[in-house]
């Protein structure tokens, strides 16, 4: 009897190994090792003609954070300014998509079951449309000769075209538009779970609408708000496609800076250091989130990606 049991145990082990050996190998070689190499690169000396010299250097970070002061490598506050500009743009995007999606999530959550499914389908469908196509649409709308300006001028509301494209506003509109499904789904998930009887109770007890919203609705939907905010903030912070298409040369985010270092300036160690700073910011944010969630110790709260399932 114990012989067959042992046999079964061994078979289980073999099956498990067979399932895991391929994925593990692949992800270690093509995910963990590349990230480690990037970390190492950010502490190396850039070569004179592109490339890298294998000597330790802390100056890549020094150039960004303030202590580099040698002949070739000098601290330049522009880099930090661009980083904070990116944080600001990403945070504004989060706020804008929150404002846009919150009432819409309520709208859908109050529908009858069948219609609800259909409207969720409609709202998530754009996620499957090519990102570059969706951004292109906004180029057509926001250009000086674009749809918006033509329409406003046609109505006689403005005399000359507004300069919207290549501004912060254009970048924020673009990122908000692109990340709507990421914000909508977590919000919807927590609004759908909202206990209507609590709202009624609050109103019966004499609270007005605003009080009910602030004391009952908002706290209950907070997990969705935080989850959605994080999955919108992360891809916004490191974004370089949206600022490059809608921000042109005028709105530069850290992502654009990184792209320049890799594809035109060819200073890879410096680009890697910039990348590490973005990644550190993301990790700190996630750590804070995980800590907050585990402190609340509420069930059903998972990593935000599990809701939206998207970058």
């Amino acid at each position: 009897m114990s012989g067959t049991e042992q046999h079964a145990k061994r078979r289980t082990k073999i099956l498990l190994a067979a399932l895991l050996v391929g994925p593990t190998l692949f992800l270690v070689v093509f995910f963990l090792i590349p990230l480690t190499i990037m970390l190492v690169y950010s502490w190396l000396t850039p070569g004179v003609y592109g490339g890298v010299e294998w000597t330790f250097s802390h100056l890549n970070y020094g150039r960004i954070l303030g202590w580099a002061n040698t002949r070739y490598e000098k601290f330049d506050p522009t880099y930090l300014a661009i980083f904070f500009q990116s944080v600001r743009l990403a945070a504004t995007t989060v706020l804008a998509s929150l404002i846009v999606c919150y009432p819409a999530a309520f709208w859908v959550a109050r529908m009858p079951e069948k219609r609800r499914q259909f409207f969720i389908f409609l709202i998530t469908l754009p996620f499957f449309i090519s990102l570059i196509v969706r951004l292109f649409a906004w180029v057509l709308i926001l250009r000086p000769t674009g749809f918006l300006n033509q329409a406003l001028m046609g109505l006689g509301l403005i005399g000359q075209p507004l300069e919207i494209i290549y501004t912060d506003v254009a970048v924020i509109i673009g990122m908000t538009y692109v990340f709507i499904p990421f914000m909508f789904l977590p919000l919807y998930a927590s609004i759908e779970k909202l206990d209507e009887s609590l709202i009624e109770a609050s109103q019966d007890l004499g609270a007005n609408r605003i009080q009910t919203f602030l004391r009952v609705v908002l706290p209950q939907t907070l997990p969705g708000i935080i989850g959605g905010s994080i999955i919108v903030f992360i891809p916004s912070l490191g974004n370089f496609i949206v600022p490059s298409v809608l921000g042109g040369a005028k709105v530069v985010m850290t992502g654009n800076l990184i792209e320049q270092q890799f594809l035109s300036a060819r200073n890879w160690p410096f680009g890697a250091a910039l990348g590490m700073i973005v990644m550190t910011a993301v990790l700190v944010l996630l750590l804070l989130y995980v800590r907050a969630v585990s402190r609340e110790d509420r069930q059903g709260v998972t990593l935000p990606v599990a809701h939206g399932g998207a970058k």
């Binding site: 078979r11 399932l19 994925p23 990230l35 709208w107 749809f147 490059s244 890697a272 973005v278 993301v282």
Partner: protein, 275 residues
């Protein structure tokens, strides 16, 4: 009571506005892809199919204005590259992602939480970080950039997407059927083939479709790790946009829209039916 119905009306008005915000830009591309005005795309001149003729390589009167026409060969090559990458990536990442999902859901072992964390990492990482990390890796190990590096790059993060979709399916699944199969004397492999696999099949198909769509659409990671001769469709269009806005992009975008709508609708329809 009246206040409630007012609030409802405002909410639903807002809801329709929200949908308009989502779909108006997309509709705009479609409508103006039939506009013949070659100078300002946003001023309607007359209905034309010339932009479509152009991208499909048919002769049009626009050919005299070569200014507006880019090489269709390059466009086709990009489409072909995208399809090759997406099909290969989908196959590999579906197998890998499903394997990890099965292992994590059905076995108890020490490294389980490590694997869970590993599968979430590529999803929470900004694209650009993975892009540059892979670029440094490929170049310093002499991989030579090309379609193979794009395939590897896509597979690293799409494995996670498949993992999450299949895991969700496994969590919903009734485990007692597998136990029953084992009790009736079926060995592990038979149970897997006859019971587990058919039951998770919708999840696997869903994960594969998601992987395919995202691979077809990925721009950031591909942008960093594609070689000179191996542009995919999104990278090609990004390049076109940077060179200047041309009406033919409307037509290309519309064709892509139809394609993604079709794939996504089929996928979401299958999902809603299987539930």
């Amino acid at each position: 009571m009246r206040r409630t119905s007012w609030a409802r009306a405002i909410l639903s008005a807002y809801g329709w506005l929200f949908l308009a915000f989502i779909y108006a830009p997309i509709l705009l591309i479609v409508v103006f892809s039939f506009n013949s005005n070659p100078v300002n795309m946003m001023i309607w001149q007359e209905f034309t199919l010339d932009w479509y003729r152009t991208i499909f390589g048919f002769p049009t009167k626009l050919n005299e204005l070569t200014l507006y026409v880019e090489s269709t060969d390059q466009l086709y090559k990009a489409v072909f590259n995208s399809l090759r990458v997406a099909v290969t990536t989908t196959l590999i990442s579906t197998v890998l992602g499903t394997a990890v999902a099965l292992a994590v859901a059905r076995f108890r072992f020490r490294l389980r939480s490590f694997f869970r964390a590993l599968m979430f990492m590529p999803m929470i990482m900004p694209d650009i970080i993975l892009g540059i990390a892979l670029l440094i890796f490929f170049v310093s190990f002499g991989f030579g950039l090309g379609l193979h590096t794009i395939i590897i790059g896509h597979t690293t993060f799409l494995t996670s997407y498949v993992f999450i979709v299949v895991s969700a399916r496994l969590a919903d699944m009734d485990q007692s059927l597998e136990e029953a199969s084992a009790d009736l004397g079926a060995d592990g492999w038979t149970t897997f083939r006859r019971v587990t696999l058919p039951m998770i099949a919708p999840g696997v198909v869903g994960g594969a479709m998601l992987a395919f769509i995202i691979s077809m659409d990925d721009l950031v990671i591909t942008y960093f790790i594609s070689g000179v001769d191996s542009t995919t469709l999104p990278v090609h269009i990004y390049g076109m946009l940077r060179r200047g806005i041309k009406p033919e992009i409307n037509a290309i975008a519309t064709v892509m829209l139809v394609f993604s709508f079709a794939v996504a609708s089929i996928g979401l329809y299958l999902r809603s039916r299987k539930r």
